[in-house]
């Protein structure tokens, strides 16, 4: 499986957020999406799953399920936890297991893996931010989908939970999955690839909290290339 983006551009509210973003990520690889606040990290993730329109460029998935859109084969862990406060922990997770999954998935084991099995009957309204986050993460474990899109996945998690999320990510990669993660900090495991989002559409200077931070998508660090032109994907996947 290989997810390829070529020359993606994003416009929101009439403003160009990014342009000329290209990357390619294969099974078992983690792509770290980096950039300053407002550079479009979340927009890029949402674009991959089809929640933001592709203004220009192409997204393609090779060796995925040709019957399904990319978003239908992906898990999206956004800033919001998609939990209903009046439903219990178990009911929340069971709903997403039924809605996103195909068969009857057992939710007991994933709940235990995120450490919420003792709270299963508590309404989600009483959960802390970190516990809500862990319940969202359990969604990724309960339904198997090959692509994970994680937006600041470590936020609100304590050290133990961060470590177990890293374990889940490692397991997903080992099983041949793909992970795209937008993050400022370290993820706890080496990113096979990185993409940097700048704020304008010309190539970006490398060290960049300062002024000259413009740029489409280039790799700053020793990490493998991203902006390399990828072979034109055939047929499958989304057209802009």
């Amino acid at each position: 499986m290989r997810l390829t983006a070529s020359n993606l551009a994003c416009r929101r509210g009439g403003r160009e957020v990014f342009a000329g973003v290209s990357f390619s990520v294969a099974s078992g690889e983690l792509l770290a999406i980096r950039g300053r606040n407002g550079a479009g990290k979340s927009s890029l993730l949402r674009m991959v799953v089809g929640l933001v329109r592709v203004a220009d460029g192409q997204l393609a998935l090779e060796a995925g399920d040709p019957e399904l859109a990319i978003g239908e084969q992906a898990h999206y862990l956004g800033h919001q936890d998609a939990l209903k406060p009046s439903l219990s922990v178990r009911e929340n997770l069971q709903f997403w297991a039924d809605f996103l999954g195909t068969g009857a998935a057992a939710i007991g084991e994933p709940l235990a893996r995120v450490g919420l099995e003792t709270l299963a009957d508590l309404p989600a309204a009483y959960l802390s931010a970190g516990q809500r986050r862990r319940l969202s993460i359990a969604r990724l474990l309960v339904v198997t989908r090959p692509i994970w899109l994680l937006d600041e996945p470590l936020s609100a998690l304590d050290a133990v939970a961060q470590q177990s999320l890293t374990e889940f990510m490692r397991g997903h990669l080992a099983a041949g999955g793909v992970i795209l993660a937008a993050t400022h900090g370290a993820l706890g495991l080496p990113a096979a690839r990185e993409v940097w989002l700048g704020q304008a559409s010309s190539p970006r200077v490398e060290e960049g909290w300062g002024g000259g931070s413009e740029g489409g998508a280039t790799t700053p660090a020793p990490a493998p290339r991203l902006a390399t032109p990828t072979p034109s994907p055939s047929g499958k996947g989304e057209e802009p």
Binding site: R46, V49, G50, L51, V52, R53, L68, G71, E72, A74, Y76, G78, H79, Q80, D81, A82, L83, K84, P85, S86, L87, E91, Q94, F95, W96, D98, F99, L100, T102, A104
Partner: protein, 222 residues
């Protein structure tokens, strides 16, 4: 459980729990309709004549009450993103949410209507006709309302906008619903004629509502 059944169960659970909208609608309906006799005075003939219209108006407003939260709540907590990413067709998901909304707000109105009918001096046949028209007509109100709820999904405090968008579209339902309910007691028209048109309006809204609402949702998520 399939995706659609899961959605039906979830929406109904949320509606009947604390903070859900299920009881609000029927309480509003009871309060509004019960106030009318106090405002008009004990003129039994007048109450009998305008009773069906009052009950239909109260039902219309009550069914709009919780409607603006139908998609907005899912949008605010991020559920709508995942719903759009799901494999179930959005049109069917929207229709199922409409069904859940009707079962928790529309159906209780139909059940409560005979009680309030007593306040308004409706006799047996008139009550039966009223309940039948409400049973057939309230799904149309919900499914037309889906469109307004979907259009207003990204707006904060979109409740009034939903009402402004939806109320004009419900005028035909109101006209034929009240005409059919009145036909039994007073009208020159037979019951069947307006009632058949009311059924047609409901069937059309069951088809058009989900498609229009799903299209609006896709457009908004942009």
């Amino acid at each position: 459980m399939t995706a659609l059944a899961a959605m039906l169960v979830r929406d109904m659970r949320i509606a009947v729990r604390v903070g859900g909208g299920a009881l609000m609608g029927v309480l509003f309906f009871l309060v509004v309709a019960a106030m009318v006799p106090f405002a008009l005075g004990p003129d039994l003939a007048l109450l009998k004549r305008i009773g069906p219209a009052i009950l239909w108006l109260a039902a219309l407003l009550a069914s709009l009450l919780a409607l603006d939260r139908l998609f907005a709540a899912d949008q605010e907590d991020g559920s709508l993103d995942l719903i759009l990413m799901g494999r179930a067709p959005l049109e069917l998901v929207v229709a199922i949410k409409g069904v859940a909304h009707w079962l928790t707000t529309g159906l209780p109105l139909v059940v409560a209507a005979p009680l309030i009918g007593l306040f308004l001096n409706l006799d047996g046949p008139a009550e039966a006709a009223l309940v039948l028209t409400l049973l057939v007509g309230t799904p149309a109100l919900t499914f037309i309302g889906l469109i307004g709820a979907a259009i207003a999904v990204t707006l904060r405090r979109g409740g009034l906008l939903v009402a402004v968008l939806v109320l004009p579209l419900t005028v035909p339902v109101l006209i034929f619903g009240v005409a059919a309910a009145n036909a039994v007691s007073s009208g020159p028209v037979p019951f069947g004629t307006p009632f058949t048109i009311l059924c047609a309006l409901t069937l059309a809204s069951l088809v058009v509502g989900p498609f229009a609402a799903a299209a609006a949702l896709r457009q908004e998520m942009e």
